[in-house]
Symmetry: C2
Subunit: 482 residues, 2 copies
């Protein structure tokens, strides 16, 4: 839902300057033509919205309602997408650029909002992180073909691999292209990873330096991850899920926008009219939350729970940050142990961590030694996963460990990465194909949310125990496979 | 959210036959032109969808993927609204017809889905119930101007007045117009009133006759309400909120469609392809609920609570129906007592129940005797409401009774109804105008959800006590006003 909110906010803000032009509002320093109006940088569009609000509040009562109506009737939300683009025939429906691993909510959102799935451009990645060069080339192409861009989406912690996109690269691309007349917003889907930022924050909200953060860890964070966190505050909007790394139950989701003034454009009541004359304060404005979100009335209990949690454990490295910090420490231990495990099981299987973890999610690819066929490898990993997955027909205690699986698709990985991983696993690339379970690599996926994986008091490492368990099972299944 | 689901399901189903034509799928008995394809009755469009699924599953593996892709690329959801209507230039963006009191989610939904608020036609009402003649005239106009219609919306229990639209009239209009080539779906917004239907159901789900239902009540239900309930099963989709008359906490909402086969068109994965070859059963299909609803993963706890409640108290008149039955009995007592109250306070004020209650919601208009000014009347009712409303700064126990208020707007009421009500209240119509608190009538609103308002064991009627309280307060405020 937060991702849809990002889409509709960006669309409302993009189309509003065009509506002001169509309504022929005087004195606002409007852009010269529709193309310029539709391609304003978000900050410039918000400044224009504010000029309009100020202008409107300076009108007489009668005039104000009249102008409000006139602009309202030119807005994309009033006309609908079809009529808006017929009326403004120099404009094209804007595209959304997202990394190819982007959550399926982006595809759903494009369909739901009527923009069309065809307007979602999926960008290639490198090691499951957005390829900024490819983004730049796509933006260049958009500029050359007068193709407007609505949003560029970065993922801060993919749910499948935990990888973190170069948010700093997205922000820089936005600013660079805005200067050449191609304005668009940057949205960060931090549903999974948003709370990791608490590791990087001082109590006053300022950013901790790379060196300071590193003092707590072996190698985390990579300079790229630190730069991504540093850029979060310059993005236009962010999605965060408290029910993921916030450790809270389902029922609350966060849509955060850097400049909330644009939210007036989503209001069901035209409250933006009164902005200048009777400025409402932030809290009383959003108390009527149903005016601004797709939903109407809904339970506030979980939002209250999130609020209380953040009051008790503020979102800085000394408070809430201790929780993700511990899971990153576990991840580093897990990653090191996985490398040792790869060495230990080398006689029975090839084991590979396909991407260095950016956060607390570690994947593991496994292939029984001697096998070169992808379908057989996938069957092997699926058999291992069967022992790790939750079985709703059995008590939880029957399982020694729980783990999940995911898949890597060559079209998502790209040719170079696919070749690298297949080679490390000794899989024959020719066995990759269109057939049953041959179009992807099945891998184990470990989400290390539990901060208590290493019990120092009782000197138990559940990470060691997991890899001892996995070593035994790999040997059993490899013997069965060979 | 359920109302948005109705919109996007109806839109997907309306546009799909056009996509099949554009993809030139053979052997399907496709409509002759786009206009006919876009105006199929929902049942005919579903039959066509099924023919397509059967046809597709009869193709070879390679052909199947190819055809699937080809149709997919012609779908409105893929192209987006703008490109779809450019490619099919004989078609116009369809309208949604809803009563003027329809919930603001309809306006929000039109904007969210990109159809545009301008495509929402608000129909006049009579006594806050949809005017079927006006609907019919509007449909006629649509047919004459080749204006497609997406949905006709009826409200089963308005949240403001508890009134129930003639669902039978909507269904009849749908069938009548489908026969002349104007196909559209009927959706019922029963968010408030849906559970009232339990009063009308036998244990086997069949409808109880008007006479049988009436045996329990003084005058409920009106023949119109009984006919509306009887028609619910013939509508295309229905919204019901368990957190209203289901007496359950927030967190679950129901979107019900009569023929779930069309839901395949909302699926994020193109699961409809495999329909014929590997039919999935209903439950295993919808276990992947995130594929079909706007949201992704979400809490299922409240849905489970609804399920358990309906198992414990099945939705028939002998079980769950006892609860709404008691509230309707209270409503009848309340209504009678309100009429007596009007008589009792006649020296001090004009009191009027503006509409005979269809359900368990009774409104009361009040004007101090001698006053003919609408703003003064509104101030009088607001002062009464101040004593009835929840004050978050005080313990609940400080209030004797709780009640809410709502407003009646002349543009919603229509000229005739406005004149009738103003006359009964002795308000000068000339005092109605554009000024502060002069554009609407403020009235008290009583939502009688509590089944224990009449305590027979202890011989206490909280209804009597409320009207005794209200009589005292009316006298005090009328004296202050005069």
């Amino acid at each position: 839902m937060a991702n849809y909110q990002a889409l509709r906010l960006a669309l409302a803000l993009k189309a509003f300057p065009v509506a002001l032009r169509a309504a022929k509002v005087p004195d606002l320093e409007l852009p010269d033509d529709d193309v310029a109006a539709f391609n304003l940088a978000p900050a410039d569009a918000i400044a224009l919205l504010e000029r309009w609000q100020d202008w409107l509040s300076a009108q007489t009562n009668g005039e104000r309602g009249c102008w409000q109506q006139r602009v309202q009737q030119q807005r994309l939300e009033h006309l609908g997408l079809a009529a808006f683009f017929v009326q403004h025939d120099t404009l094209r429906v804007p595209r959304v650029l997202a990394p190819i691993t982007a959550h399926y909510s982006w595809s759903k959102g494009m369909k739901l909002l009527g923009l069309g799935r065809a307007q979602l451009a999926l960008l290639p990645q490198r090691e499951m992180r957005i390829d900024i060069d490819a983004l730049d080339a796509e933006l260049q192409r958009c500029r050359d073909t007068q193709q407007p861009v609505l949003l560029a989406v970065g993922v801060f912690g993919t749910t499948e691999y935990g990888t973190i996109d170069a948010i700093d690269g997205l922000v820089a691309a936005r600013d660079r292209h805005a200067a050449t007349g191609l304005g668009f917003a940057v949205h960060v889907d931090a549903a999974w990873g948003g709370y990791l930022a608490t590791i990087f924050r001082n109590e006053d909200g300022s950013l901790r330096s790379l060196a300071t953060v590193r003092e707590s860890f072996q190698s985390f964070p990579s300079p790229a991850v630190h730069a991504a966190v540093a850029a979060l505050g310059q993005t236009d909007s962010i999605t965060v899920d408290p029910h993921k790394l916030g450790y809270l139950p389902y029922g609350a989701g966060a849509f955060i926008c850097r400049d909330q003034r644009a939210m007036a454009l989503l209001s069901e009541e035209a409250d933006y009219v009164f902005h200048g004359a009777t400025p409402k304060d932030y809290l009383s404005r959003y108390r009527n939350l149903g005016q601004y979100i797709p939903e109407g009335s809904k339970s506030g209990a979980m939002a209250a729970a999130v609020y209380v949690t953040h009051k008790v454990l503020p979102l800085d490295h000394r408070q809430f940050g201790q929780l993700p910090r511990q899971t990153i420490l576990n991840t580093e231990a897990f990653h090191l142990r996985a490398l040792r495990f790869a060495h230990e099981v080398a006689d029975n299987a090839h084991a590979l961590v396909p991407f260095a973890p950016d956060s607390n999610l570690v994947c593991l690819a496994l292939n029984p030694r001697g096998n070169r066929d992808i379908a057989r490898m996938n069957a092997f990993v699926r058999a291992l996963h069967d022992e790790l997955r939750c079985d709703p027909t059995l008590p939880l205690q029957f399982k020694e460990f729980f783990g999940s699986m995911t898949t890597l698709r060559p079209d998502t990985l790209g040719a170079g990465e696919t070749a690298r991983i297949l080679e490390a696993l000794d899989i024959d690339p020719a066995s990759l194909g269109a057939g049953e379970d041959r179009d992807r690599l099945v891998i184990l996926r470990h989400t290390l949310m539990n901060p208590y994986l290493i019990d120092r008091e009782n000197d138990i490492s559940y990470i060691d125990r997991y890899f001892e368990f996995l070593t035994r099972r790999v040997r059993v299944h490899a013997a069965a496979t060979s």
